[in-house]
Assembly symmetry: C2
DNA sequence: GCAAGGGTTTGCGCCAGCGCAAATTTTCGG
DNA sequence: CCGAAAATTTGCGCTGGCGCAAACCCTTGC
């Protein structure tokens, strides 16, 4: 999977895994692949910045990207982490044409992208792509909505628990005795995801570590007892 | 505008105003109108409940609808208020087929709706509808994202200020010396929108009333000094 | 191997705002 | 117009978690 990280067009087989192109015939995937620009990027590379005119739609083939947003005041939050097979920067095309957030790689990453013009051509030719996109954005809308509810009603520990479970589901890989989250994550990242501060996130995770619920190996979080974390996420406040 | 509240198909002209059908030829609108089911509903009528299988897409022609969501714990938030020309219940069609929230009228309302089958037929015939829907959901995604950032980084007063401004922009109508929000809004509603409690929302709004920034006339909030509220919304915390 | 710098942990004080409860006002049916 | 029910306002005490600051630890380059 990580063996093919080079600067070239992505393989049609890789695209089949992608939510946006699901259900397309092989012949279509070949066309999609031909229109793609593939790029191999080192970690901590900025792909686009908030406010940039959004001319391309992106997808992660391998690696990971952090999407973060900052307000007119300095305040910053992490919108989400994008892993293999997921799209990002798509919404900009159809709204005001500007990227609503920053995108920065968090590891060595192979990324594919399509121009707005090409994507519209593809959509016109294969309406399934438009339907897929509605489903993708719709699902994301529901997830973000869920996050709003969490922020409004749950305390910090529950929010961190939810964030950890979400990340494990999205980017977890089995490791001896637990599930490791693929990306390296700083405490600040966890805090920004869960909507709390560095300090509070640190306290919570340290507490969990002492209880043996999670562990950390060089910036990578390992979930040892998902059941217990689940319980924290679900328990009533207080 | 409110004169035509009766139980019948909506006029094609009314549909032209709707974001989902923008840019369609008149002949298409006639078809869309023919497929619609129009209903006149008294206030506090439940249109659908969270978890119901989502078989129809809805639009408000006149009146207003409150969309609220409750978690597995009892906690509840107001997702948004839907005014004339806006759609609701659309996302359910393309994701898991269940409504993700409750919809209840907050005033006498004329609502139109389309079946999933009809909507898919329309989309196949007029691809512009699919594009419109992507833009609508995309815009909403950005707004909700914004709300996440607010909740994570701003204090209660700023959040209430943002909520009031958003409502005034969305459903404001000029009234002698100010902008009135069309719907009747309880303190609890304001609290749920801003992600705070009934009590805190009450204190804040009472404070503003004493300073002459807002006024209340039978449940309807009137914004007297939008500039000052804007300033509160933008000021740094503390 | 060591020093420098970034990331993390932790102690401590403080306050925004939650929650309870009671008083007050508004709404609404009859 | 009256009384009951609902909504709103307000006082008060308490606490989660923020913010500062210091100490600690772990990487990374030389």
């Amino acid at each position: 999977m990580t063996s093919a990280i080079r600067d070239e067009a992505p393989a049609p087989e890789a695209l089949r895994q992608m939510e946006l192109f699901a259900g397309l015939p092989m012949e279509a995937l070949t066309g999609v692949a031909a229109m793609a620009r593939g790029r191999h990027l080192p970690r901590e590379t900025r792909i686009f910045s908030q406010g940039d005119p959004g001319v391309r739609t992106h997808a992660v083939i391998a690696g990971g990207v952090r999407i973060s947003q900052s307000g007119s005041d300095g305040a910053q939050i992490v919108v989400r982490f994008v892993g293999p097979g997921e799209m990002f920067g798509t919404v900009a095309l159809f709204t005001d044409g500007r990227y609503p957030a920053d995108a920065v790689t968090i590891a060595e990453t192979f990324e594919a992208s399509w121009s707005e013009a090409d994507l519209r051509i593809l959509m016109a030719r294969y309406p399934q792509i438009a339907i897929n996109m509605i489903r993708i954005i719709g699902t994301r809308l529901q997830e973000v909505q869920e996050r709003v509810r969490e922020l409004a009603t749950q305390n910090a520990e529950r929010r961190v628990a939810h964030a950890v479970l979400r990340l494990a589901r999205q980017a977890g890989q089995a490791i001896g005795g637990g599930t490791a989250i693929a990306f390296p994550l700083r405490r600040k990242d966890m805090a920004d995801i869960a909507g709390t501060t560095l300090h509070t996130a640190s306290r919570i995770l340290t507490g969990w570590t002492k209880q043996g619920l999670v562990a950390s190996r060089n910036r990578r979080l390992i979930v040892l007892k998902p059941g217990d974390i689940q319980r924290i996420a679900e328990q009533a406040n207080g």
